[in-house]
Amino acid sequence: MMATQSASALSMTNITKRFPGVTALDGVNISLDRGEVLALVGENGAGKSTLMKILSGAYKADEGEISLFGTRVDYTSPLLMMRMGVAIIYQELLLAPHLTVAENIYLGRMPRTPLGTIDWAKARADAGAIIERLGFDIDPTTTVETLSVAYRQIVEIAKALSQNAKILVLDEPSAVLGDAELEKLFAIIRRLSSEGMSFIYISHRLEEVFAISNRTQVMRDGKVVGVKATKELDRNELVRMMVGRELSDVYPSRQSSAGETLLEVAGLSNRVLKDASIYVREGEIVGVCGLAGAGRSELLRAIAGADEARASHFNGLGFRSLFSSPRKGLSRRVGLVPEDRRKQGLFVDQSVGFNISIAKLSNATTGGVLAGPKEKELAQRYMSRLRIKTPNKDEIVGNLSGGNQQKCVLAKLLNAECRVLLIDEPTRGVDIGAKREIYQVLADLADRECVGIVMVSSELPEIIGLCDRTYVMRNGEVVQELSREAMTEERIMMAATGSEMVEA
């Protein structure tokens, strides 16, 4: 085989990856030619990241073959894949902020003088040359923290080039870039691809897919649902391919009977949010959709009092100014289920009972003293009400499954007697069986106990299957409100990507 002359840069065939309880990738193929830009699109959880982690050597595939430049790769590791020319640039950049541009580019591989000391002059000169090749003018001696996010991305690309990368994976680069910066990035991609470098470009934003890619591959539920030359695709077809799933019976039936308004906020602004207005009524489940970085989590956090913000109007269960802290919010019975369960929601190394009672300990005390039987009764009430599967209340929460952990966070807020629940990604990292149970719990809370729920989700079927209304956010703004009848994945996607406004 004339490996070096092969036109194929990468070919992954029949890749299967299973995690406990989930098949993340099911016989996936992907191929990439030299000098090609392939757009990889799909919803969250479609398997794009898992596939890229296998390519980077971070994960090992259970089945399947990988070939790079016509040579079969039998064993993968991050270091090996990097040496073979694969570089991945992640959304959250992995640079050392206090070091200079040159130091970052040559991190761990600084050029040496004959004496073995670092050859600063060469490092600077080489780094400068690479950046110039990219068509930019960045001083290699500036520290990375003083650069804009776009320039940091350039440094990442320069670093990849210095490692002789031949395949560059860009994981949602636009999430952190403005339009002008994106244009610069596109210019680099065009220039490097004309020099024979291959790109895999992961994005949610359809206009970018059309602007930069030669070919588009769509993934859904761990499978490839289509590969096509980008110029033969039209926007609607692409959205349908990405979404195209039938609503199954995982969603409970809802009785829409919205009561009085529990919480409303208008003109909510902070460093991320721009003039956002939403409201939620008794017994209502309201969705908040949008792309990563659109300000969904920030909206919930600002309402809960976890982030600073200002508003032109606020009414939360009779309270007239924004909550200054989560404690204030909880005392007014507005609670937040945060995005990152283990880091923000749970006391992972404490017991189930501890986690359930902590937000309102007075429910477990008599005369200011924690009473064992009362606390036990309280824990068991929520364990049975939310069907938390745990041997007993003394089990360490960290030992429970993701779904049961999420139920513990919900139980914590129910014990705090919340009337408004702000839930960020209710089913992230939760298996399908537990998802269904959580949906049922949320539906019961709204329908039977008249709790008002605002939920952020990246999974559109979840929003459509559960919510009475949904808001769509883009760039910190609430750009659209859709009623239950008007909610379709296509419409939500259109509004979220800003491709064209649809009549609501």
């Binding site: 809960a304 976890a306 802290s325 989560p326 404690r327 919010g329 909880l330 005392s331 937040l336 945060p338 880091k343 923000q344 929601g345 749970l346 006391f347 992972v348 190394d349 404490q350 501890f354 009672s357 902590i358 937000a359 309102k360 300990l361 007075s362 005390t365 200011g368 003293v369 924690l370 069907r387 599967k389 041997p391 007993n392 003394d394 914590k412 705090a416």
Partner: protein, 331 residues
């Protein structure tokens, strides 16, 4: 239905193995207690003098003196903090109470003034750490140096003799009741009271929550700042209490008192199983930890190991105790 069956099966299982279950859940404390027993047994075999009542009372006195400060540190470390200033607080309070006694103030006033001063220093630590957001290590390192300087300044570098102090003040450090030194009784009261606070009050629960996950605690409506200010105040207060016992026992206010006490106290808390990462551990472990270190020191004294060499052993024990914790976490 299936759920209920499962639950009742679990319950039957739990009763059948009740004792084992009880021990398994408290594996840390049980193990620590076994170490203590083993150590006491070894001590009595090595030297007949160990079981001599005078010697035992001496060991207990040692446990009490270090134990009180260590319990204060336990509160702080449970919130994933650290308090390096306790030794210096002991010094300032020693010097001030000695001065006040010599000035002829009444014993209750002096005691209140001393305890109040410790509380105040703890409060300052807490405020610096929460409102100004200075890392605990730096804040208490700063107050450690400042307060040591303050003690030396106030006393002009010399011990302040209080040999002629009132008899009821001397009782704290030298008296005894029901066959045990008063200091030991004070320690027992502090330990029981602290155990109660940590186990049975919302404040105690919040201490664990803050140390376990400060971000989640904040989002769960816990007043993280107030909780932290509380633990540093407790630590300062208990350091002051230790100072009173020191002055009473030695009849002198030493500006160099309590040097290195913070390290001893941290060691005791950590050996007792309180995690430096916060959220794990408690008073019971600290009490056993204090006893382990005291018996160890006693054995080494009895068999004539020099105090210099003893330091090396103590240092090694701290490293072993922490590496055991790190190992446990990694599993």
């Amino acid at each position: 239905m299936a759920n209920e069956l499962g639950a009742s099966a679990t319950r039957a299982h739990a009763t059948r193995n009740g004792i084992f279950e009880f021990v398994r859940k408290r594996a840390g404390i049980t193990g620590l207690f076994l170490v203590l027993l083993l150590l006491a047994l070894t001590a009595s075999l090595i030297s007949e003098a160990f079981l001599n009542p005078f010697n035992l009372v001496n060991v207990l006195r040692q446990v009490a003196l270090y134990g009180i400060v260590s319990i204060g540190l336990t509160f702080v470390i449970l919130t994933a903090g650290i308090d390096l200033s306790v030794g210096s607080i002991v010094a300032v309070v020693s010097v001030v109470t000695a001065t006040l006694l010599n000035a002829g103030l009444g014993v209750p006033v002096v005691i209140l003034a001393g305890l109040g001063l410790g509380l105040l220093f703890g409060l300052i630590n807490g405020i610096g750490i929460t409102l100004v957001r200075i890392p605990p290590f730096i804040m208490t390192l700063g107050t450690m140096v400042i307060l040591r300087g303050l003690a030396l300044t106030l006393a002009d570098g010399r011990p302040i003799d209080v040999a002629n102090s009132a008899a009821d003040f001397a009782w704290i450090g030298r008296g005894s009741a029901f066959g045990l030194p008063v200091a030991v009784w004070i320690f027992i009261v502090v330990a029981v009271f602290s155990l109660f606070i940590l186990r049975f009050t919302p404040f105690g629960r919040n201490v664990y929550a803050v140390g376990s996950n400060a971000e989640a605690a904040h989002l769960s409506g816990i007043n993280v700042e107030l909780t932290k200010i509380g633990v540093y105040s407790i630590s300062g207060f208990l350091a002051a209490l230790t100072a009173l016992i020191f002055v009473s026992r030695l009849t002198v206010g030493e500006p160099t008192a309590g040097t290195g006490l913070e390290l001893e106290a941290i060691a005791i808390a950590v050996i007792g199983g309180t995690s430096l990462f916060g959220g794990q551990g408690g008073v019971l472990g600290t009490v056993i930890g204090a006893a382990i270190l005291a018996i160890l020191a006693n054995i080494m004294n009895l068999i004539g190991i020099s105090p210099f060499t003893q330091q090396m052993v103590k240092g090694a024990i701290i490293i072993i105790a922490v590496s055991m914790e790190v190992f446990r976490r990694r599993r």
